[in-house]
């Protein structure tokens, strides 16, 4: 819970991790990838305020106590959504698996949501693992990383026939939220791996699932915005937008926020700290204080008020995940409905 100027914000961190990327978890022969991955993440941390930077050693492997302090004690978060990333070709036990997250989380009841994951290249066996994970961890969401390497393959698309089998299985198992994270590789490598057109198709074909595009489709924000405005079940995951831009490049942050508010709208945007890349504390404090710079450059973007910030910081995600929000944090009846799906419409006359 965060409180500022008499306003109380219920905070759902929609995208965070509990990873082990230390050398003891590197796969022999793939050390350079394991090292390259975590060093790349660490460079992202460099875009946050200097006083929040960690040493690489600490960043590779932080403790349960570190997480609880950074996210909940200091970081104002009420409920955090674990988004697993496996990368088992590089990390022996996986980078951060559903099991690892849940093992930690079960000591802190009510604090975490355990999303799981799937990879269409895992075939029938993967479908069974998905079923078991949902049964065991109560997962209502999945994190998909399309650039994951898997026995010689460098990635996949949501429109692959194998992926549709998994999306159908998700519906059958009661999974509601599909978090999509695009990465730099895909098959074939000559195509743009970051293209979000496959999410567009899947969102149309699976209208009962919500598709949260993580990092707002970065580096394809423009394509993402244009797609999201037409698909009522597509949401913007803000992880990285706040972390990488709000401190380091405030004017670009304002422009990107303007675009998102215009095309996607405050009902469809979800806060995520991407912890441990960045701690949530400074992101939440800065976001609540944030407003557009006083300049004509920003005058035709929709404004973001307290109600909108409440939705983005927690109420939208709480709605998607069925998290109970105490009355003191709810919006007044005239302040709109969080995560309202019918707000999306093609903006033609702007």
């Amino acid at each position: 819970m965060y409180e500022k100027n008499g306003e109380k914000y219920f905070v759902v961190d929609g995208h965070m991790h509990y990873w082990n990327a230390a050398p003891d978890n590197w796969v022999p022969g793939a050390e350079q990838y394991a090292k390259g991955w975590i060093e790349c993440f660490h460079a992202y941390m460099g875009l946050g305020p200097p006083e929040t930077h960690w040493s690489l050693e600490h960043f590779q492997k932080y403790s349960e106590d570190d997480l609880m302090k950074d996210v909940f004690e200091d970081g104002y978060v009420d409920v955090a959504v674990f988004q697993p990333t496996y990368l088992k070709e590089w990390y022996k036990e996986g980078f951060n698996t559903t099991e690892r997250n849940a093992l930690m989380g079960e000591k802190h009841p009510g604090k975490f949501v355990y999303n799981t994951r799937w990879d269409p290249r895992d075939g029938d066996e993967g479908l069974e693992v998905l079923r078991r994970n949902v049964e065991r961890f109560g997962s209502k969401g999945c994190k998909l990383y399309t650039a994951e390497w898997n026995t010689g393959s460098r990635g996949w698309k949501l429109t692959d026939p194998g992926a549709y089998r998994y999306l159908e299985k998700c519906q059958e198992l009661g999974i509601k939220n599909i978090h999509v994270h695009k990465g730099p590789t895909i098959w074939p490598l000559d195509k743009d791996a970051f293209d979000v057109a496959d999410v567009d198709h899947a969102a149309t074909d699976f209208p009962d699932l919500n598709f949260i595009v993580e990092h707002v489709g970065l580096p394809r924000i423009d394509d993402f915005c244009y797609m999201a405005t037409q698909e009522p079940n597509v949401y913007a995951g803000l992880a990285v937008v706040i972390g990488a831009l709000m401190h380091a490049r405030p004017r670009f942050f304002a422009r990107v926020m303007g675009e998102l508010l215009f095309w996607v709208g405050e009902d469809k945007m979800l806060f995520g700290s991407d912890y441990a890349i960045w701690e949530p504390k400074w992101q939440i404090e800065g976001f609540v204080d944030w407003d557009f710079p006083d300049s004509d450059d920003f005058s035709d973007y929709p404004r973001l008020g307290v109600a909108g910030k409440k939705k983005i910081l927690g109420l939208n995600a709480a709605k998607l995940y069925g998290i109970e929000v105490p009355a003191e944090f709810q919006l007044a009846p005239d302040q709109g409905t969080p995560a309202a799906p019918d707000d999306a419409q093609l903006v033609a006359g702007a």
Binding site: Q32, Y33, G36, W37, E39, C40, H42, A43, Y44, G46, L47, R154, G183, P184, T185, W187, P188, L189, D190, K191, D192, A193, F194, L218, P219, R220, I221, D222, D223, C225, Y226, A244, L245, A248, R249, F252, R255, V256, G258, E259, F262, W263, D296, V347, A348, G349, A350
Partner: protein
């Protein structure tokens, strides 16, 4: 502002081979590298800080080292930059041989070997790619045209031009600017109309003039494309700065 092209020892890039007394060839090679753009960011690899070093021996052997913001930058765009750098430097008068090496990248070996052998992308990533990168390059040139349209139109709108007047305007009627030159050049590269009589607002896929009813959406999308590219560029610069202590040759602050 141009950052000094320093080359401190011990940086992770190992960029120690900067030409200490630039020969005409080395100057020419660096100028050639300044014509190579990151296809995604639509900016020269020099100003982005991607050129770690560039040297040409008295006999005309050119050695270029490139670097990128992350170990996992997309291999297709990385390949294009290395191949374009190779082609550009090879054409510099007095250059006898060219070597371009991408450092610190997961696909360095495939890219460097493939470019050195002039093998093309599909052969360099055997079994992982089905075709060359012309389509990818064209897709991103079209985005650059959209972004460039916003760069040209925004000052006109700010100065009071109406949307209707933009629709009627030809490239020859737009006041001269660097942004206009860039837009015309990008359009020409795609084979789109770029002469003084060509309409300012065209569909970058077809080259057709934008119709009145489509203009608001077109201009909004142009702005989104520009902001997307600029935001990516700012993140890439931040990552590069974190990764390497030294500035690249010709690096410019944003």
């Amino acid at each position: 502002m141009t950052a000094p092209a320093t080359s401190r020892a011990g940086g992770p890039g190992g960029s120690s081979s900067r030409a200490s007394s630039p020969s005409p060839q080395a100057g020419g090679a660096l100028a050639a590298l300044a014509t190579v753009r990151d296809p995604e960011l639509d900016e020269p690899i020099t100003s982005l800080g991607f050129v770690a070093s560039c040297a040409v021996s008295p006999d005309g052997d050119a050695r270029v080292r490139l670097r990128l913001p992350t170990y996992f930058c997309a291999p297709n765009f990385a390949f294009l930059m290395v191949a374009d750098a190779y082609d550009a430097v090879s054409k510099v008068p007095g250059v006898r041989s060219t070597e371009v090496v991408l450092e610190d990248h997961f696909a360095s070996d495939a890219i460097n070997g493939g470019v050195a052998a002039q093998a093309g992308f599909a052969a360099s990533f055997d079994g992982e790619a089905v075709s060359e990168l012309h389509g990818l390059r064209a897709d991103f040139l079209r985005k650059a045209v959209l972004a460039g349209t916003d760069q040209v139109c925004r000052p006109l709108l700010a100065a009071g031009a109406s949307r209707a007047s933009l629709l009627a305007m030809t490239l020859g009627e737009v006041p001269a600017s660097g942004a206009l030159d860039r837009l015309r050049q990008r359009r020409a590269e795609l084979g789109l109309p770029s002469g003084p009589g060509a309409p300012l607002l065209i569909d970058p896929a077809t080259g057709e003039r934008i119709r009145e009813e489509a203009a608001p959406l077109h201009l909004r999308r142009a702005r989104s494309s520009r902001i997307s590219i600029e935001a990516n560029s700012s993140i890439c610069r931040g990552m590069l700065r974190h990764r390497y202590e030294t500035s690249g040759l010709g690096e410019e602050e944003q």
